[in-house]
């Protein structure tokens, strides 16, 4: 079963993963300092242009649906607070939308990074950045463990169905003990056994004796990376100006 995140055949897949990672990390900090609605709308629109050509509309829709859910919860909660105390009531100005613009902007950047960089490229980033064994080894284990664990969970779910005939959200709520015994304990045991197997495999590959690793498949830098940095700088400059008071 192939559960890897595969990089799609799109323009973002040709940009170096380190470039995309830098862009996303930089903006995750930059966005916090943006408070002007025009600047935030500009950033959000730019991020839409960044992610839209990937044509991953379903993933985008799920992301936006989550924002909408948060927005509705927030309005509902504000209304409830307003009923209890007037000073907490529903705000009707644009400020209420600002946090959602920030979240939406970050969702777009995250989607662009995640959906355009396969597991192989992300692991290569670890190798390229020459992280020490203490960080590199557990992080690469996560990428190796997740697909096989998702497969394990599916099999555990099947085994439960065979054993007790049905298993759904109602079982989880009505019999939490049963849920823990049937689902969580086997999952933990599988994880611990997988950890044992993986560490023995790592030892036999000679990982106990090293502190650095070569990347045999380094990603090349190309003009698109340079262009990405130019666009990044322009967006930062424009949004800083739009942010009126400056950053």
């Amino acid at each position: 079963m192939n559960l890897q995140i595969k990089s799609g055949d799109n323009y973002l897949a040709n940009i170096n993963t380190l470039t995309k990672l830098f862009i996303t990390l930089f903006f995750s900090i930059f966005i916090v300092f943006m408070k002007d609605e025009t600047a935030l709308i500009f950033l959000f629109a730019s991020s839409c242009l960044y992610v839209l050509p990937m044509k991953k509309y379903k993933a985008m829709l799920i992301g936006y649906a989550m924002i909408l859910l948060m927005f509705i919860s927030s309005i509902g909660f504000s209304y409830l607070l307003g009923l209890m105390a007037k000073r907490y009531g529903l705000k009707e100005d644009f400020a209420m939308l600002i946090p959602f613009l920030r979240v939406g902007f970050m969702i777009n950047l995250t989607l662009a990074l995640t959906l355009s960089s396969g597991v192989k490229k992300l692991v290569n980033v670890l190798k390229t950045l020459k992280f020490p064994r203490t960080i590199f080894l557990p992080t690469i284990v996560i990428f190796r463990f997740l697909p096989s664990f998702i497969n394990d969970v599916k099999q555990i779910h099947e085994s439960i169905k065979i054993k007790i005939g049905h298993f759904n959200i109602l079982t989880m709520i009505s019999s939490p003990r049963l849920f823990i015994r049937l689902m969580i304990i086997p999952a933990v045991i599988r994880a611990l056994r997988a950890a044992d197997d993986l560490s023995a495999a790592a030892e036999l590959k000679g990982i106990s004796g090293i502190n650095k690793i070569t990347n045999s498949n380094p990603e090349k830098w190309c003009w698109k990376d340079g262009l990405s940095f130019v666009i990044l700088a322009s967006i930062v400059a424009i949004s800083t100006v739009l942010n009126q008071g400056g950053v």
């Binding site: 995309k20 990672l21 862009i23 996303t24 990390l25 995750s28 900090i29 916090v32 408070k35 859910l69 948060m70 927030s74 909660f77 504000s78 607070l81 400020a95 600002i98 946090p99 920030r102 979240v103 970050m106 950047l109 995250t110 990074l113 995640t114 992300l122 064994r133 203490t134 960080i135 080894l137 557990p138 992080t139 284990v141 996560i142 463990f145 997740l146 664990f149 969970v153 959200i169 989880m172 709520i173 939490p176 969580i184 304990i185 999952a187 933990v188 045991i189 994880a191 611990l192 056994r193 997988a194 950890a195 993986l198 560490s199 790592a202 990982i207 106990s208 004796g209 090293i210 502190n211």
Partner: protein
């Protein structure tokens, strides 16, 4: 012949990586199965994640385990989603403080010290996340109250998770999977 000795053994690093993945995926699956943002799902998610964290510390009884777990978990969020860079320093310090607490409250052989350390870590983690949440939501404080209540409900799950984790650990010892 390479005979360099490292503080962390390969098995310990692999277990920390495995649990960082396990906690993320199981919490996510429980939250999704439970229907997302509702109190029951939030409590269930936190029971599971705290219980798994307890098992991790029972499994890797070494100073620094919480700090390294936090670092690896943060690294994976940064790598896969490009987020969490601002959260990382704070929770790393929280992890280190809780490692110190475990060390000075009886050490990693004491179940009480482990439970106390993880309980405090859960509080610190949530407090830091909320503070950072403020930066994102400052224009709409209602959202922050909402987040605060969500976190508080979640923490009830953490408290239950501390004891659930201890029960899990006992069963895993009985099964010979966690060695005394």
């Amino acid at each position: 012949m390479n005979k360099e000795k490292f503080y962390w053994e390969t098995r310990e690093l692999v277990v920390i990586g495995t649990f960082a993945a396990l906690i993320k995926i199981v919490s996510f699956l429980v939250a999704i199965t439970g229907g997302g943002m509702n109190p029951i799902a939030m409590v269930a998610k936190n029971i599971v994640s705290t219980a798994l964290l307890i098992i991790l510390v029972f499994n890797v009884r070494k100073f620094g385990v919480l700090s390294l777990y936090v670092l690896i978990s943060g690294m994976i969020t940064i790598l896969t989603m490009g987020r969490g860079l601002m959260l990382l320093p704070g929770i790393l310090i929280a992890g280190f403080i809780c490692d110190l607490i475990i060390k000075f409250c009886g050490g990693y052989k004491s179940s009480f010290a482990i439970i106390a350390g993880v309980a405090l870590f859960d509080i610190f983690y949530r407090a830091i996340s909320l503070s950072l949440g403020y930066l994102f939501m400052r224009e709409n404080p209602q959202l922050l109250y909402f987040a605060g209540i969500t976190v508080a409900i979640g923490y009830i799950g953490c408290i239950i998770g501390l004891f659930t984790g201890n029960i899990f650990a006992k069963e895993l010892k009985h099964a010979g999977i966690i060695k005394e």
